[in-house]
């Protein structure tokens, strides 16, 4: 055969992928495509998790590379689960979670209910309401520190204006029991719009004809709300609770900037305590056990919750 330029080009062109893969089963090809993702998942998520579990049974300290690592069995877990301080931090976390989620769900739903009505300036109002959630938690933490300042803070000034209590007589971030409510106020201010948006999506997904049918059946507005609106928005609300729950369980930046976990340990959330153990005290083995306990807690609660959510959806 004559060696023409066209033939040379044809020979130099690599065979198409399909031909090169010929002979491989569909399943093998599928694995080939999925393999890089699985490899990354194993390297970035699964391996560190397994390694953390291993470290949790040792006295390893990352800042002491020369020290001999000892196997301590369940000692780290025992110390954590019998530590009053850690149980106190867990209670603080639970208090923060419960109140932020409760307030955000109530206020978020109420705002969505109001915004869902058609009125002039609706779009502008929606934009203004969602502004806080667009801010960085670091910025929010910093400027709320100023708002809470007893002498020059706007918050204390407003309280004085409304109640007559002298502004400098109380400190929202200081001792006196107000600090744990201060962080709840800030988180609620920032994240209620998020819950509102999810609820709004739920409300707008309810077809008008359902309400029209209810009107025909002469159902009152109150009854429509409880038998139509709430059940149909419930899956959305539960999703919002799941998102906010997971987010707030690992809350760190905003609270660190506001109170640093203080005064005392009044706002010391589990995530802040964990960071201090791991990267300030460098008790790597101990903090690994701490992280595993938190992981199992969140994972367990989230699994139960997701099952409940699926049941609600199926109804």
């Amino acid at each position: 055969m004559t060696d023409t330029p066209i033939l040379r080009v044809a020979r130099a062109t690599p065979p198409p992928l399909a031909r090169r893969l010929r002979g491989l089963s569909d399943r093998a090809i599928a694995w080939l495509f999925v393999a890089p993702t699985i490899f990354l998942l194993l390297a970035i998520n699964i391996f560190p998790l397994i390694w953390t579990v291993r470290l949790s049974f040792t006295n390893y300290a990352a800042n002491r590379p020369g020290r001999e690592v000892e196997w301590v069995g369940l000692r780290n877990y025992e110390r954590i689960l019998t530590s009053e301080a850690i149980w106190s931090n867990m209670q603080t976390t639970a208090h923060f979670l419960f109140w932020t989620i409760t307030l955000q769900v109530i206020l978020g739903f109420a705002l969505a209910w109001l915004i869902n009505r058609k009125f002039k300036g609706n779009d502008l109002l929606t934009t203004l309401i969602v502004l806080p959630m667009m801010l960085s938690p670091a910025v929010v933490g910093n400027f709320w520190t100023f708002l809470y300042q007893p002498q020059i803070g706007l918050f204390n000034y407003m309280v004085e204006l409304l109640t007559g209590t002298p502004a400098s007589s109380f400190s929202m971030l200081g001792p006196g029991g107000l600090a744990k409510w201060s962080i709840i106020i800030v988180d609620t201010w920032m994240w209620t719009p998020f819950v509102m948006l999810i609820c709004l999506a739920g409300l707008r997904s309810i077809p008008d004809y359902i309400y029209e049918a209810a009107e025909v059946d002469r159902a009152s507005k109150w009854r429509q709300f409880w038998t139509l609106t709430v059940p149909m928005v419930l899956p959305f609300l539960m999703l919002a609770v799941l998102f906010r729950g997971i987010e707030n369980f690992k809350m760190f930046d905003m609270v660190v900037l506001l109170t640093g976990g203080g005064p005392g340990n009044e706002t010391l959330l589990a995530s802040i305590d964990l960071k201090r153990e791991a990267f300030e005290k460098w008790r790597t083995g101990y903090s690994s056990a701490y992280a595993i306990i938190l992981f199992v807690t969140v994972f367990g609660l989230a699994s139960i919750y997701v099952k409940a959510l699926n049941k609600v959806k199926e109804r």
Binding site: N63, L173, T259
Partner: protein, 438 residues
């Protein structure tokens, strides 16, 4: 194709060689972001001119300084060639191999530690403490001191009111209890139509603030970490009756003589409170005193300084740092040449003149030193009685335990001083047990 590949390789080799060369001609010095660091940038221009080595600086704000730098060291990072690290890091730096031991270098370059103030050599350079193993050159002497509104103290109406209220003359406090009395006198007083407060002190919880503040009282009452140095025998020392009294004193100072909302304050907040005219007195590190003396609003004739008042003994909390060569540096030679340059007496004299606190005896023992700045004499006095926190490799755990115990008692009103110090011994015992030292 081959020719192109060869060309590309050659260009790459030339480029990487020039990058390596430029890297070896640069040094990065890491420190906290504060006034003396700016002075050091200016001072280092002389080194750049003499050596041809370009200086880069990595300055981290104090609240994040320890976190950032210790992470850097623990991960074997190459960011810093030179590190001006806190005195408490020396144990960890030495034992974990983060810092290069400088004995051979000092011997080869005839740099004598006898030329530096003994207290600073002990605190900033040696590990184990007091042993002639040097891991840093004393770079920045510092201690916790006080400053006050001299213009208020000199006003006749205020002096008369103080005399009437206390029966004593208003003056620089000579004891901790006199300091409290003066601070309480100013608390809530109207001066020039503005409500002012007694003193701004350290109450910060997150890093080291309240420990550095409260130890000013604890040391003055005679607080010791151990009954016998090196024994880790803390019972009866850490929680002695004098220590309990000192801690109760610090709480009273906080509760009765500080501005409202002053529950998480450290250096910056102390400076803000003083500069904004809120307080009559303030504690802070000597490092800030040159800036305060020159402040257009509260400096000059309006300000004066005093050393931390004694109570049972004269004592001040040690600050300050030594300069170390990071063992992970790829330019150790350049870093050592910087230290050699910095150790020279004329450079040290210039360092002091620019706002840095030299530890060199030629500077400190100069007859004109005491009059060279309004706080120079106080600085010398303070450095003669400084005491430092644990410098153990596990210092971070020890410090955080003390932060928690002190803050919980002083600010958050939890328990008693005795319980706080007993608890502190329990925490520290646990740390030393983990370390295998008990």
């Amino acid at each position: 194709m081959k020719a192109r590949l060869l060309t590309a390789t050659a260009v790459g080799a030339v480029l990487s060689a020039s990058v390596a060369s430029s890297q070896s001609n640069e040094l990065t010095l890491c420190w906290a972001a504060w006034d003396p660091a700016n002075a050091l940038v200016e001072l280092s221009k002389d080194f750049e001119a003499q050596s041809g080595i370009k200086m880069n600086f990595e300055f981290v704000p104090w609240p994040n300084f320890a976190d950032r730098m210790l992470n850097e060291l623990n991960s074997g990072g190459q960011l810093c060639d030179l590190l001006i690290g806190d005195s408490q890091w020396i144990g960890s730096g030495a034992e974990n191999g983060h810092y290069i031991k400088l004995n051979d270098f000092f011997a080869a370059e005839s740099i004598s530690m006898d030329d530096f103030a003994p207290a600073t050599v002990y605190a900033y350079s040696t590990w184990p403490k007091g042993e002639p193993n040097y891991y840093a050159l004393p770079a920045m002497g510092d201690a916790n001191g006080w400053f006050y509104r001299k213009d208020w103290f000199e006003r006749d109406d205020i002096k008369a009111a103080y005399k009437e209220a206390t029966g004593a003359d208003l003056r620089e406090p000579q004891s901790q209890k006199e300091l409290l009395q003066i601070a309480q006198f100013f608390q809530g007083r109207e001066i020039d139509g503005q409500t002012v407060y007694g003193a701004s002190i350290f109450t910060e919880r997150g890093s080291e603030g309240i420990t550095m503040g409260a130890t000013g009282a604890l040391y003055a009452w005679g607080f010791k970490y151990e009954n016998t140095p090196g024994s880790y025998d803390m019972e009866g020392a850490v929680n002695s009756p004098a220590a309990v009294e000192a801690l109760e004193f610090y709480k009273e100072l906080y509760k009765t003589a500080t501005p409202p909302g002053y529950d998480n304050a450290y250096m910056e907040q102390s400076l803000d409170a003083f500069k904004s005219g809120q307080v009559a007195m303030a504690m802070n590190w000597f490092a800030f005193f040159p800036g305060l003396a020159a402040d257009p609003n509260v400096g000059g004739d309006k300000i004066d300084f005093f050393v931390n008042p004694g109570q049972n003994v004269a004592a001040s909390t040690l600050g300050g740092q030594g300069i170390s060569v990071v063992s992970y540096s790829d330019n150790v030679e350049g870093a050592l040449s910087y230290i050699k340059w910095f150790a020279q007496p004329d450079v040290q004299a210039k360092w002091w003149s620019m706002g840095g606190y030299s530890c060199h005896r030629s500077v400190l023992e100069d007859p004109n030193f005491v009059t060279s700045a309004p706080f120079a004499g106080d600085f010398l006095e303070a450095m003669n009685g400084v005491q430092d926190f644990w410098q153990e490799p596990a210092y971070a755990s020890l410090l955080l335990a003390m932060q928690d115990r002190l803050h919980n008692y002083v600010v958050a009103d939890q328990g008693t001083a005795q319980e706080a110090l007993d608890g502190l011994i329990a925490d520290w015992t646990e740390v030393f047990e983990d370390e295998g030292k008990l």
